[in-house]
Symmetry: C2
């Protein structure tokens, strides 16, 4: 597998552009292909998700229009109208039907869309629609809210290209995250297989990511496959997993107020479900997150988080290690506390990227979760979001 | 129902004392009666809980010994020995058997107990065992960790006395909270009824409390009934609910780093379970908690938290109000955003005690949850807990 530059425009047949004005941003993406999507499980679901979910029933998209600044959620009939109007704008530009357009929004909940801003951003962005690395970055930047970095990833594997852009920094928790993610590929695969591949990739990436434990009303992942490239499904699956996992890591690193990134790897769990539950419990623990922030090797909090996850466990079988700064140290070995390693553990915790390994010693299931520290910066960002 | 002074010593037949040295504290409570208890559901469970749970099978306790400073959790065979030694100390003092003693611990996980400190605190505390308001406070203070205030509550209802002390400020999340709670009553009731009353009271109080979403390894609630007072079970139940609810409120107010308290009241939910799930989801949302800290009337986050709770809901039936500073304002009325009330909402959010009402408009189930804001202070307290 080869990592590529160029973001989503690394996939042949994808054009993009974006524009920003104050808190609002608008991204346009043109690419025609078989399309599948996944959406938030929150019962309060934003208007654009209803529009996009309905359009996906056709199985084909020609383009996507996505805005930041307003979630267009809890906005009633007007919100639905606004989402449809966005689809119509983009459809007119691409000379297609509005039912062939994906719409997505992110931002404050419960505020009406300022459609005059959307309209003026659209006029600006539409003249720039093109296929270039800058175009992908422009689109990725247009959907950012509290994100501080553009997040895009592209790979090529045995001839097939897969690339995605994503936004998301807060209100991030399975399922999925406060995220908009647009993935493109030239893979020539039937819709059912694309759907299955996407579901698996999301399960191991975005659904294993926690910033703050809040599930958004607007989460959207769209995958469009142009079909230009015959490919092996195994190679595609591998490439898609890689793109989704790297995008999830980028989101964790760019978590609101984050100063450090950490990953939790659960091994030898009794079941897949147990492995996932344990991995997620560690990464969402406020106490683990603050300990990571403070470089405090308070491993008891990790064990407690695994304990409360619901995963089957036997305390005397647990082995716990941490890795970072080029070192690895085992703190608990089959339930016994290893003596004389706390100083080394402190050094590891001082790094800005920490790996936590918990071996449950029960079965052969594995899971990996992605997270970041909880900092005063997170509180500052979120204490005055709408005021 | 009458509120009483005196903490647990307001119940006839209860003596207490406490001593502190650095991070360690030791509380002794003498009271003989029928006893029932509830413990953490975390699968990593501290040694004293195993000892106490076994002793409770006798159905009778003569006293309790509880320490702060070390959780005696994940401490293996030695930890179990230490917990039993604590029971033996207290039993010798009360001239009873060690199997008639409840033992509890709170503090850092994965550190061995410093039994020499426990021993010296015991020598100090045992000479002071007495029945007085100061004695109750002394015991309550001895079990504090990051708590900033003594938490005790006593009531009398139609002749029956119920009183409790509690510690807990962080690692607090159903079920139950990082809490040690010792409740006493003179009610003369059979063990099965005491157990049932306790389970109900805990469900509506400690299990509806969240500080940070972490479930502890050491949670313990013990209820001892001396049996000196014939009573009506309804009056007892009411008094017990009141004591547990007030103690839960005190814990929320004293949450680590908390500057504000808030309560969420869900009404007209489709089921009890839905009401509880929705109430808990709001109170545990980091985004709601930071908005409360920043006095930001970002009610969309409240709706989103209800949406992700799993509770059945219909967006267009939701009515949302907030109350505080002597005012109440409705922000959403049956799914429609009320215009022109945001300034008033901001004023309410500036208060240090906020009530959030969410009417789901579906059934007749109600639940109430207790929480506090998420502040830079919480992060500071927890970033360097063991270092």
């Amino acid at each position: 597998m080869k990592r590529l530059e160029g973001g989503i425009c690394a996939v042949p047949g994808v054009s993009a552009s974006g524009a920003r004005k104050g808190k609002y941003g608008l991204a346009l993406i043109a690419a025609s292909g078989v399309a599948v999507g996944m959406f938030t499980k929150n019962k309060i679901r934003a208007a654009p998700l209803d529009v996009t979910a309905e359009n996906l029933e056709n199985g084909w998209l020609n383009g996507v229009i996505a805005n930041s600044g307003c979630a267009n959620c809890y906005t009633g009939v007007q919100g639905l109208q606004d989402a449809k109007d966005m689809a119509r704008m983009m459809a007119a530009l691409l000379k297609t039907d509005a039912s062939r357009i994906g719409v997505a929004s992110t931002g404050v909940i419960g505020r009406p869309m300022e459609m005059n801003i959307i309209e003026s951003l659209f006029q600006e962005a539409k003249t720039r629609l093109r296929s270039s690395p800058e175009a992908s970055q422009e689109a990725a930047r247009a959907i950012m809210t509290t994100d501080t970095r553009v997040k895009e990833m592209a790979v090529e594997n045995v001839g097939v290209h897969v690339a995605g852009i994503v936004k998301g920094a807060g209100m991030i928790e399975p399922n999925m995250a406060t995220m908009l993610c647009f993935i493109y590929t030239d893979a020539d695969l039937p819709r059912a297989e694309l759907k299955d591949c996407l579901a698996h990739a999301v399960t191991d990436s975005f659904n294993m990511l926690t910033i703050d434990g809040d599930t958004s009303t607007n989460d959207t992942v769209l995958l469009t496959a142009t079909g230009a490239q015959k490919c092996d499904i195994g190679a595609f699956r591998e490439a898609l997993n890689q793109v989704c996992t790297e995008l999830a890591r980028m989101m964790a690193r760019d978590g609101e107020g984050a100063t450090k990134y950490f990953e939790t790897v659960i091994t030898r769990a009794g079941s897949e479900e147990d492995a996932r539950a344990a991995a997620r419990s560690v990464v969402r623990s406020s106490l683990v997150k603050t300990a990571v922030y403070g470089s405090d090797p308070n491993w008891g909090r990790i064990v407690a988080a695994v304990g409360r996850s619901g995963a089957r466990l036997e305390p005397e079988r647990i082995t716990l290690s941490i890795e970072g700064n080029g070192c690895e140290v085992t703190l608990v070995e089959r339930g016994r506390i290893v003596q004389g390693v706390l100083d080394q553990a402190k050094e590891i915790m001082k790094g800005d990227s920490i790996l936590i390994y918990v071996d449950l010693g029960l079965g052969d299931a594995t899971a990996r979760s992605f997270g970041c520290d909880l900092t005063p910066g997170y509180v500052d960002i979120n204490a005055n979001y709408t005021t």
